[in-house]
């Protein structure tokens, strides 16, 4: 009962805050005050619904398995939706629509790079992940290696990725809500942070998963509706749409060919590597493989997830192209009413303006609520992944050496979630002006260089030893971060140095080989007794990875 009271209070406070701040319209856009209400009502409905779920989930979250993995009882279809939900952040909806709007075909290339990692994860990783892991992906790396050292390393790189990704989501949330709901940036950040803490601390993985599923359905439905309404204006003819779009776009005939975004080959290849293998190293995505009963369901979830992701990317591509004509030609959406000038609310608002143009304030409100829900859900997934790294890997396994009781472990996760919530709020406020796409890119780059190499080697390469894993993991992490710091986007744009020390913005092509090479060299040169035992232990690990015998959850089914 006390929990319910807490939840209702939190919800009530948020609604009051929302109403109190909805009044004054945002910077000069008078019609915005009317739209705020639709968005706020729909958003409050969403929050009310998810709070109900959190309350229900709270009563079912008793063991660590419930907290981290929803007891392993999520079906493949549900998990597929949740994975798709975790993967399709607000940056996808807003950022990629905007990218197609301004760059045309380049945006589509980005989407394929985001998508192509999924089949690879399925063919080479999903099954072994499910068979070897329990709660976090460090379980796999630490399976036969030194628990303490390897888990610490994996937890540090997980937390690094989670933090970079969190910053991107929080900043996106703040800017979006400031514009659409008429709330102050800092209030928006607090609202996201607090709601996230409530979902995760009370409901754990059960609530997080259901928030994710609802949001994924809303996102798919909302995006499809906007796309259909917009596309119908061109008689659903791709030919007509492209003819008109190329005629008015400033890129002209170049709209549908690769352009400036990937002008140099190294960046193109590095981006491809980073996005593809970054996906396979994101802690909150990997964690989703442990919420299903067995490898069979894990495979199905990838099939469903990749289907939804592929579908949604194509919807966004059409939305972006329609935006060129419907938004790009309408003076109402430009500051000062000059077509071709600055879009109201900045470049990322194309999808929102499009929703308003084709469906009025109701649809705009709905899409705004979806975008906010999206951020909330992704942030919750990230927080849970971060909290598990702290409680399961560092606290339970490294500090307590496996002696912690389930109750204290869950308590530590809850405290960690609350701390992460505050960290996210502070980072969101500090990084207000930071470019979101860049932060997402950095998170993917670090995941690809620090997490992926060690993970794949520990599953496939018999020769990996603790020493190799540590050098590979830390090496990848440090080099990926350094490459980004020395690149133009930080060294010149943020630190105002005259020239970048590292000429490319994408680190993966360089940091990944460093990680693999270090892991190889330091494993091969490791002739200690322990290394010998670790290599020997691979045989049993291999049988379990292949058959799933002994995997947690599998025995009870």
């Amino acid at each position: 009962m006390r929990r319910l009271t807490h939840l209702t209070t939190a919800l009530g406070l948020f609604a009051i805050a929302a109403m109190a701040y909805a009044g004054p319209p945002v910077e000069g856009a008078m019609e915005k005050s009317a739209t705020n209400w639709h968005a706020i009502i729909m958003f409050c409905l969403f929050v009310a619904m998810t709070m109900g779920i959190t309350y229900w989930a709270a009563s079912r979250t008793k063991s660590t398995a419930d907290f981290y993995t929803a007891g392993g009882g999520i079906t493949g279809f549900q998990n597929g939706l949740a994975i798709a939900g975790d993967y399709m952040s607000a940056a996808t909806l807003l950022g990629l629509t905007a990218m197609v709007y301004t760059q045309g075909y380049d945006g589509y290339i980005y989407m394929l790079a985001f998508f192509a990692g999924w089949p690879i994860i399925l063919f080479l990783m999903a099954e072994r992940l499910r068979n070897l892991g329990k709660f976090t992906f460090s379980d796999i790396t630490a399976y036969r290696l030194d628990q303490g050292k390897v888990r610490t390393m994996a937890a540090i790189s997980s937390l690094t990725v989670v933090c970079f990704y969190l910053i991107a989501q929080m900043v996106g949330a703040g800017q979006l809500i400031k514009l659409l709901f008429g709330l102050d940036y800092n209030i928006a950040i607090f609202a996201v942070g607090i709601l996230m803490m409530v979902y995760v601390t009370f409901g754990g993985m059960v609530a997080t998963t259901w928030v994710q599923i609802i949001k994924a359905c809303m996102l798919l439905a909302g995006g499809t509706l906007v796309m259909i309404l917009a596309f119908s204006q061109f008689g659903f003819s791709f030919q007509t749409l492209l003819e008109k779009a190329t005629a008015v776009h400033k890129l002209g005939d170049k709209l549908m060919s690769p352009g400036s975004l990937l002008a140099d080959p190294v960046t193109a290849i590095s981006l491809g590597l980073g996005l593809m293998f970054g996906t396979a190293g994101l802690p909150h995505i990997l964690m989703r493989f442990f919420t299903v009963t067995d490898a069979k369901e894990a495979r199905k979830s990838v099939l469903y997830a990749s289907g939804f992701v592929a579908y949604f990317f194509n919807v966004i591509f059409i939305m972006g192209l329609c935006g060129i004509l419907i938004v790009g030609q309408n003076p109402e959406f430009f500051e000062g009413g000059t077509v071709g000038g600055k879009l109201i609310g900045g470049g990322n608002m194309v999808a929102m303006h499009l929703a308003k143009a084709v469906g009025g304030n109701m649809l705009l409100g709905f899409l705004a609520a979806v975008a906010f829900a999206t951020i909330l859900a992704v942030v919750s997934g990230l927080a849970l992944a971060g909290a598990s790294a702290i409680s399961h890997d560092i606290y339970a396994r490294v500090i307590m050496k496996g002696q912690a009781s389930e109750a204290t472990e869950i308590r530590v996760s809850r405290i960690a979630t609350i701390c992460l919530g505050f960290v996210a709020i502070v980072l969101g406020i500090l990084f207000e002006k930071q470019n979101i796409a860049f932060m997402v890119g950095l998170a993917f780059g670090v995941a690809a260089a620090a997490n992926f190499p060690v993970l794949i080697l520990s599953m496939y390469w018999k020769g990996l030893t603790t020493r190799g894993a540590l050098f590979g993991g830390y090496g990848g992490l440090v080099s990926a971060v350094l490459f980004v710091v020395f690149s133009k986007s930080v060294w010149v744009d943020v630190l105002h140095n005259p020239a970048p020390l590292f000429p490319y913005t994408q680190p993966a092509l360089f940091a990944m080989p460093i990680a693999f090479l270090l892991a190889y060299i330091f494993s091969k040169s490791d002739s200690s007794v322990r290394a010998g035992k670790e290599i020997e232990a691979f045989e049993d690990q291999y049988v379990r990875a292949q058959t799933g015998f002994g995997a947690s959850g599998a025995s009870s089914h």
Partner: protein
């Protein structure tokens, strides 16, 4: 105890069969995806103009868009093919291996 079970499974010729068949299948599919994707990235990097060509005279649809859309569909179909085969044929074989190891254990 667990270790003895793993030893028995490893000794089962069916295990070798499972590993080699599923492994080969997965790697072939992964190879197809990687080759197509990085082949495409190479074309983007080194010969972007070729992707800007229309697929046919007078069509607005460019080769790049058509190829990409095809990859979205094709990769997903490969995913479905893998899941289908792994969830029926390979999983049945896995269960046999585990069952036989249990039997020997008794």
């Amino acid at each position: 105890m667990s270790s003895a079970m793993y030893e028995r499974m490893r000794a089962n010729p069916k295990f070798q069969d499972l590993v080699s068949r599923r492994g080969r299948f997965a790697w072939i599919l992964a190879f197809i995806v990687l080759t197509m994707f990085y082949g495409f990235v190479m074309v983007v990097a080194f010969n972007p103009a070729s992707l800007g060509q229309p697929v046919s005279e007078g069509s607005m649809l460019t080769v790049g868009v058509a190829v990409e859309f095809f990859m979205f569909v094709f990769f997903w179909v490969l995913t479905a093919v893998y899941v289908k085969r792994a969830n029926t044929e390979f999983d049945a074989l896995t269960q046999e291996i585990v069952k036989e190891a249990w039997k020997e254990n008794k």
